[in-house]
Amino acid sequence: MLQYLTRRLLIAIPSLLGISVILFTILALAPGDPFEELATNPAIPPDVRAHLRASLGMDDPVHLRYFAWLTSMLHGEWGFSFVSRIPVDQLILQRLPTTIAVIGTSQIVALCIALPVGVFAATRPYSLFDQIANTLAFIGFSLPTFFTGLLMILLFSIHLGWLPFVFRTSIDATGWRWWWEMARQSIMPIMVLGLFQGAAWTRYVRSAVLDVIRLDHVTTARAKGISEGSVTLKHVVRNAMIPVVTLVALQMPAVFGGAIVTEQIFRVPGVGSLLITAILANDTPVIMGVTFVFACLVVFFNLVADILYGWLDPRISFR
């Protein structure tokens, strides 16, 4: 196992390098300009913009810029944002807690919805519960988050006035009061994302469980006289988890990438909105910083998925 692990990690390094090269060339070629606001103000002489672009090395050839970025990355120096001159790692760390708190919890909520509902629906195929679960799941993933987000704001914030809909990181209460305020303002973004994600996962869980429920060893388990509940849990769900685990592991990096639309609607200062503003402003160091961490997470979680896969299914041997 250890040998497999080290081999996979060794392969990960060149693959990450490859990804960073392609990322960098795409960013260099993509249109957009960090100083676009300067352009609209006729009072600012054009040479200021030209000087700025030159001072940040934006006009040298792509490969030079890539090696400069790579060498500084290796020294652990992530460079600073063209626009706000703040070091990239500080920018990301500033937004990491909110992202993990809000987006992370929404993924957990999604799982807490998808697993029980998916399994229960699959054990009673085409029953009333199954039909309702299915229909709700379809509503869940066929309405975009910007639509459901707005519906929730209209209902809970404006019509009922229960929840604030602008996410503020600067809550000045303390102790439990702080937690209460934080909970009130994150309920909606978490539910919007959680329901959307939960809906899609419910469908996968249901399909995976349906595949396993008719197998022989399930009848064997039942013949052992153990309760129907533990037959389902220990024998059916445990086997059905194999494809579902791959899916969940795939989704984990998205937790870091944040949900760009939801963050914009509820003004959650997550990594997603940082990435989108950086992309729209073609702020290369920030984009490279965020997407590189994203790439590492993708490669890491794929490795985790494969290991989990091997651990869950003893038949898969680690060559």
Binding site: L215, D216, H217, T219, T220, A221, R222, A223, K224, G225, I226, S227, E228, K234, H235, R238, N239, L312, D313, P314, R315
Partner: protein, 328 residues
Amino acid sequence: MTRLLEISGLKVHFRTDDGWVRAVDGVDIGVDRGETVCIVGESGCGKTVTAKTVLKLIDMPPGRIVDGSIMWQGRDLVPLAPAQMRGIRAKEIGFIFQEPMTSLNPVYTVGDQIAETVREHEGLSRRAAMDRAAEMLSLVNIPNPTKRVHDYPHQFSGGMRQRVMIAMALSCNPKLVIADEPTTALDVTIQAQILDLLEEMKERLGMAVLLITHAMGVVAENAQRVIVMYAGKVVEEAPVGPLFARPRHPYTQGLIRSIPRLDLAATSHQRLEAIPGSVPSLLHPPVGCRFAARCRHATPECVATEPPLREIDPGHKVACHHAESLAA
């Protein structure tokens, strides 16, 4: 003294697209303590359904127990709720399945799966249950059981897996073991070992065995009493000796005649006799004797009325109007 297991008038039907299939249509089977009873018949005669219905292992719906009772030590299992059935399954009646390759859960070790049964019924701690599992593996002659108990099913051959199934079924030393064609999926050499092992277990633990098979050879070797089923009904029941010596039902006679004989084959070119025709539809079973269409001695009476199961000799029942005259 009540019999260990007394199935009387059991009817099990299955709902399908084209209507109700009457897989088991009025079956009476009895098993005494320490006895080995064999149910034999072509595939599709309802023997597996009957066996599985005892432990309610068939899916209901689409299956449904239409009529009859299953008396286990004087207690009828049919009306029992699922919770009460759990007390019977594996603790009182063990079950061995036909397909060893797929009957074990691939993601748990063999030890875990056996321990699970023991812990369920005897409340042993984890450690004690695993020791019992190792013990059971050695009982079924699996080499170095203490190590193999931690292996996974895919690390065992077909024969070994069937031994594990047996170990699992007997782990709570039940009073009866139902073995549904335990050796069909195995090759002949392993088949004999498994059946000897089953016999040995029966002697040692003093339990009854209800063996389901379609191989007459297996019946001859192991059974004390034999029940022949055809198209969802019992057509003949007798101790093994008289059954092979003087089969009274034309179907049983046909079955016995179709067994390849080593002694005859060596000396002359024995032509194997096959029973002509095929099994009747269970959607709309014929009114009279279900074997009439394929029976050489069929008479209008056979087609008209259904022959009841009669005891024409002590312990020898047959369901045929002309049983007496046909004694081959």
